[in-house]
Symmetry: C2
Subunit: 285 residues, 2 copies
């Protein structure tokens, strides 16, 4: 393998990267080199452009921290995350649709009882969220783990502003598969755009906004774990979500409720919003 | 752009990334999304594999520092650097061939007079390097900037071990286009393989070695800057260079010289090696 040139380099690189024992690693390495070289051959980068690319990826890596995952943002904004999501969720009709996981989930979120307020100290309009978890046959699933997380009414997640955990919790569905909790209304927000991904969006003439949504991750024995959002039907960014994540079946509507006794028997001293959704899980493979 | 699925996601992503004012950015973004999505569609990564990919790239970024450029290593070991090099050096017959820049060049290297020893405190066999710089018509180039850098006889560059600058300098060719300097013989070496790129090489069943070489960067007014190496003909890794950089025209041979007066009139108290090469630059566009 001396004297490799534009004609022979790709073939020889593929030979070199496919000598390992793991067939999957060989297959992915082969495809990676083939597609990556095809990209390079097509755009014919100058040395300066190659250096820019190296520096861009380095800056993306440097921006990553415990509370910021710039490579996930890059994957999200290039449509890769939704493509991987689609490939992994070719699921039966009737199952709740999936969307991106996003970079803001936190493993150590609190576990709260049904009916608890997961955002007790937030400003913003009170929001009562309720719904059910069932299997594809319509049978309620008891004891499902229902994780919810969202931004505050300024459009920031707790981890972005370095605060204690807020606006996130895990609940368990009751014997009839029901769940309910209190929180505050989130808002549309820009993804973190003070880093290289923000520079990329600006260069591509794109806004950095995601429409208002509440994240859900719902897990139950014998079912595929569901990762999705609920969106709100009057949001200005529903048709230009910077991460390509909106699905019509996930777009819901707030009910405007007056102060008084709420559906869970608690008393709301303020007018509030309510949101209801019925999640349907897909059986595990 | 709601309800994007496997069929529609790539087209919509391309629409989104090509709205900027800079035509080159649009073209590169379009090609990037098209090839990246084609790669994803072909390998159909699981969510866990996607997470591995995100984590791998993050680790590559985190490994980068002032003295370590892991993304260049990744580019080098995937054949991308040599492909970019080939694309940018479709040069006339007779011009010295190019090879990878590598991650170890240091801008602040010393400038030394011709004949100086750029490795005065090194162990290892003394090496006398000499040669000429000429243009494609064979005319000597006076005052060319001749940068040389290489590993020590343990296979480490100064910057890898955090030492002061060693085994690197810039010289200027004389009125006849000649240059000469003293150093020590380098050795073959593994590229830094204690990071994610090393993990990748191991998974791909590859050794991490580069054959022994001296880096050169030669610049002169009116000429394209030449970035290349000289290799040595008896090296065990010439045919399996981990970065695909070896070209026959760059493989040279040491002469074994006995102690005494050297070609530059200096006296070597030890037996030494000598190496001679005639560099030919390509006219600037």
């Amino acid at each position: 393998m001396r004297d490799l040139n534009e004609d022979t380099l790709t073939k020889e690189t593929i030979r070199a990267v496919t000598g390992g024992k793991d067939g999957r690693i060989s297959a992915v390495s082969e495809a990676l080199v083939r597609h990556l070289h095809a990209f390079i051959r097509e755009i014919e980068p100058s040395q300066a452009e190659w250096e820019f690319g190296i520096d861009f990826l380095t800056r993306v890596g440097k921006m990553c921290s415990e509370t910021r995952q710039e490579f996930i943002l890059l994957s999200d904004t290039l449509g890769v995350s939704m493509l991987v999501d689609a490939i992994n969720h070719r699921q039966p009709e009737g199952v709740t649709e999936t969307t991106v996981f996003g970079p803001f989930y936190v493993e150590s979120r609190p576990e709260l009882p049904l009916g608890a307020n997961m955002s007790p100290n937030e400003t913003g309009v009170p929001l009562f969220v309720s719904g059910t978890v069932s299997d594809i046959e319509g049978r309620p699933i008891a004891g499902a783990s229902v994780d919810a997380w969202h931004s505050d009414d300024d459009g920031h997640y707790d981890v972005q502003v370095g605060s204690d955990l807020r606006m996130r919790a895990r609940f368990r569905s009751d014997a009839e598969g029901r769940f309910w909790f209190w929180t505050v209304r989130p808002t549309f927000y820009p993804i973190p755009n003070d880093g290289p991904v923000g520079d990329m969006l600006a260069a591509q003439g794109r806004h950095p906004y995601r429409p208002e949504h509440v994240h859900f991750m719902i897990a139950a024995l014998g079912q595929k774990t569901l990762v999705t959002h609920l969106f709100i039907d009057d949001d200005p960014y529903l048709d230009s979500d910077v991460v390509f994540g909106v699905k019509s079946s996930l777009v819901t509507r707030y009910r405007y409720e007056t102060a008084g006794e709420a559906p869970d028997g608690s008393i709301s001293l303020r007018d509030y919003l309510s949101l209801e959704y019925h999640f349907v899980l897909s059986p595990a493979a």
